[in-house]
């Protein structure tokens, strides 16, 4: 039976079908749904780990123990896991290991668009790339077979467009029975203890392995030649293959689709090149295939025609091809270009009721520079908050703020980091603040979930990936154990408490941590407690203090305050959650609190 599956769902089905027994990941767009789909399937163990490096170590351990294993991460997650990625390549494993690196061309939800095929080559690990969901499923099993045959980890590299597109997939009915094989731990210290003496012996092994893999690639069934006309020969991979097939007519074009983009099949490419007049590489991001082909001494064109930045689409491929003379002008698709008025944008913003809003209202009031981190709170860099001043990668906030302090800047800096991100890579940085004693103030914005990727559990929530009860690690004792005795916890909805805690920390010339806690307003259990507030227009003096919090539930009304001729403010009852931040900043008490609007029973619902 065929079903429409996203690339991510398909990868989960592929892992189950091919007998993966252990899968580990840290959530990250565009990869998150892979483990969420796999976790409920029978006879497979899946877990969220605090970060990608831990996840990859876990998967490697399972593969050392003779179980097929999978680690899943977004492209930048492999930066965190890189140390493990390289040793896994050196040691090999006892059972198949596939590492899913979901790359994000166009940076739909990322800080860069690094091309992780570079990592595959860097670590001498083969790289497979699917062109649709069917291949995304199938290549998991193929990757595991290659892994076992060549004693190597294998990278599976979908991109956002593959992960989040749905195409028909033949749903697996049966499962490879390898999952039933009892795990077995074979001790082999020369292979698995990477001290210099052993590692020196392993290095030639992996160089020889990649040479054998290049031989294997010559007849690898997912490297496919599709001969058509011979004016153009297009070498392509991943979703770019689909764009190329759509744009270039078969009557003039032949295609070489590469399912394995590292290592490349030299003879296959040379033979293909010899049959066509002009050899063109169509690939997203880096000229990876192009450079590899050039290193073989074969002439080709690629990034001189197609962009290196951002993702491709049919229009870009077609327009670039016409410009380069690969297609006639008549191939251009007629598009309308109507004259339009300026359209107001819909930028991502902090949601109504977001517990981060009060914190940044306070840091802005106190004119604090905020070294931010990766999470929803990054959005507070936008107006009207404009209150986050750096964002680089997971866990960067605390180290950066400490470095600023050690550089001798007098103005106090604040590190703002989410709960899941603190567990991910914030902990060692806070340990460093304590060890080397800077006056860094760390705000742990604890919204009790991994919000931005869609509410995943983490070590502080008390639930596993499967929703089972587990230990809930508490921040306060953890922070004290890391060497910071000054830790206070405040309710993120109580703006005066947040401000008082920050002022107390500012008075101190020592490290301190403030846990600013309140559940994400989009969690289902919180949604049930929404109680919209109202503005008493007779009391509103149109000072717009509430609007400066940037809450989307607040809007200018049609009523004007006579003295200033400015519009009074009203609240959209469909958007308001009743967090009461606006009511707390209103100087005229025009915005009514829950307790004023609802019976005490109803109002209490929220707490």
């Amino acid at each position: 039976m065929k079903r429409l599956l996203s690339g991510n769902e398909a990868i989960a089905y592929g892992a189950w079908e091919s007998g993966v027994r252990v899968a580990a990941a840290y959530p990250g767009t565009p990869s998150t749904e892979i483990l969420e789909t796999l976790a409920p399937m029978p006879n497979v163990y899946a877990e969220w780990c605090p970060n990608e490096k831990v996840a990859l170590d876990v998967a490697i351990g399972a593969a050392y123990a003779g179980s097929r294993a999978m680690a899943v991460m977004k492209h930048v997650g492999l930066n965190v896991a890189a140390d493990a990625f390289f040793y896994a390549s050196m040691t090999g494993m006892e059972a198949g290991l596939v590492i899913v690196s979901a790359d994000d061309p166009q940076m739909h939800s990322s800080q860069n668009e690094q091309d992780n095929r570079r990592y595959a080559k860097f670590a001498r690990v083969p790289c497979l790339e699917p062109t649709d969901s069917q291949e995304a499923k199938d290549l998991v099993g193929v990757a595991l077979e290659i892994s076992e045959r060549f004693d190597t980890p294998v990278m599976l590299r979908p991109t956002t467009r593959i992960c989040h597109s749905s195409t028909p997939v033949e749903i697996p009915a049966e499962r490879h029975d390898i999952w039933q094989k009892p795990p077995e731990y074979r001790i082999d210290t020369t292979k698995y203890v990477m001290v210099p003496g052993n590692a020196l012996k392993r290095h030639p092994v992996i160089e020889e392995r990649i040479a054998r893999l290049a031989e294997f690639a010559e007849t690898f069934p997912y490297n496919v030649v599709e001969m058509g006309g011979t004016e153009l020969g297009i070498v392509t991979n991943g979703v770019a293959y689909q764009y190329a097939k759509e744009v270039f007519p078969a009557s003039r074009t032949s295609f070489l689709k590469l399912g394995m983009t590292y290592p490349l099949p030299r003879q296959l490419i040379a033979d293909f090149a010899a049959q066509v007049d002009r050899l063109i590489v169509v690939e997203e991001l880096d000229p990876f295939i192009e450079e590899e082909i050039r290193l073989m001494g074969i002439e080709c064109e690629g990034k001189s025609i197609f962009p290196m930045v951002g993702e491709l689409n049919p229009k870009i491929v077609r327009d670039c091809a016409i410009k380069a003379g690969l297609l006639p002008e008549s191939a251009r698709v007629e598009t309308a270009s109507p004259e339009k008025p300026p359209l107001p944008p819909r930028p991502p913003i902090l949601c109504p009721g977001c517990p981060h809003r009060a914190t940044f209202t306070v840091t802005k009031k106190l004119k604090l520079v905020v070294n931010g981190d990766i999470g929803c709170y990054t959005l507070a860099f936008l107006p009207p908050q404009g209150a986050v001043h750096t964002c680089g990668c997971m866990g960067a906030s605390i180290g950066v703020a400490h470095g600023v302090a050690k550089a001798g800047i007098q103005q106090r800096h604040v590190a703002a980091i989410g709960d899941s991100t603190f567990f991910h890579t914030g902990m060692p940085a806070l340990l460093n603040v304590a060890y080397n004693q800077s006056n860094t103030i760390t705000l742990i914005l604890d919204n009790r979930t991994t919000a931005m990727t869609g509410h995943q559990q983490h070590p502080g929530t008390g639930k596993t990936l499967q929703g089972k009860d587990t230990v809930a690690v508490e921040f306060e004792p953890l922070v004290r154990a890391l060497g910071v005795p000054h830790v206070t916890t405040v309710d993120a909805y109580k703006i005066k408490d947040v401000e008082a805690a920050l002022r107390a920390a500012l008075d101190r010339e020592e490290p301190s941590v403030i846990v600013v806690r309140r559940e994400c307003a989009l969690l289902p259990e919180v949604r049930r407690t929404y109680k919209p507030l109202k503005v008493d227009l007779s009391e509103c003096n149109a000072c717009w203090a509430c609007l400066r919090t940037g809450c989307p539930a607040l809007r200018k009304s049609n009523e004007v305050y006579e003295k200033t001729k400015r519009e009074k403010v009203e609240i959209d009852p469909l958007l308001c959650t009743g967090c009461e931040l606006c009511a707390q900043v209103c100087p005229t008490n025009a915005i009514q609190f829950r307790a004023q609007l609802y019976s005490s029973e109803e109002a209490q619902d929220k707490r």
């Binding site: 767009t29 689409n313 359209l343």
Partner: protein, 194 residues
């Protein structure tokens, strides 16, 4: 049929993705090759959401090329203008006649384009436009959230697929307790097509 391409545009929370899931599944059950691609930025409420759905004998790209969309299904007036260039000149536009002003408008910084400017922009691209009071109809049926299904119903009248296929996909894809309401919304929409 060689191919039919649909672009669905709306605001986060309007059910754009459910509508595109139903549309893709209907195509699959009607025997077409189908691809669907969602474009959503960082997790958020109230952001711009689009979904590409393609039916054909053989579909390659999951994204529709600019100027190749046959049907633009817009769940919000402003979003229609944002994505109008994607429509094939002369293609069909079905619009939920409903405005959701973005925050820059409610805060008084930007202006929401008026009715005339929307009409002007549409007239430059295609004469085949239908405004559907989907939100009002949905509210009359008892739940504003089925406006997306009303609009799908209107679309269905343009396509040569029996209503039973649509109704069975709806039955399979919405929670059991909402099936009847959604099917009613679909049927109502189907009668409104011009």
């Amino acid at each position: 049929m060689n191919k039919t391409d649909f672009l669905l545009a709306g605001v986060g929370g309007q059910g754009t993705l459910l509508a595109s899931n139903i549309l893709a599944e209907v195509g699959l059950r009607a025997g077409y090759d189908v691809k669907k691609s969602e474009v959503h930025g960082m997790a958020q409420r109230g952001g711009s959401v689009t979904s590409h759905v393609r039916w054909g004998n053989k579909v390659y790209s999951p994204l529709i090329g600019q100027g190749e969309v046959d049907y633009l299904l817009s769940f919000e007036r402003l979003e229609t203008m944002r994505y109008i260039e994607h429509l094939r000149p002369g293609g069909t536009v079905l619009i939920n006649d409903h405005a959701m002003p973005p925050i820059s408008v409610t805060a008084g910084k930007d202006i929401y384009p008026d009715d005339k400017s929307l009409q002007d922009v549409l007239a430059q691209v295609t004469p085949n436009v239908q405004f559907v009071p989907a939100m009002t109809i949905a509210e009359e049926l008892g739940n504003a959230r089925v406006a997306n299904i009303v609009l799908l119903g209107v679309l269905s009248a343009h396509l040569d697929i029996p209503a039973e296929v649509w109704l069975s996909v709806i039955a399979d894809m919405v929670p059991a307790k909402h099936v009847a309401l959604n099917q009613t919304a679909f049927k109502k929409g189907r009668t409104l097509a011009k």
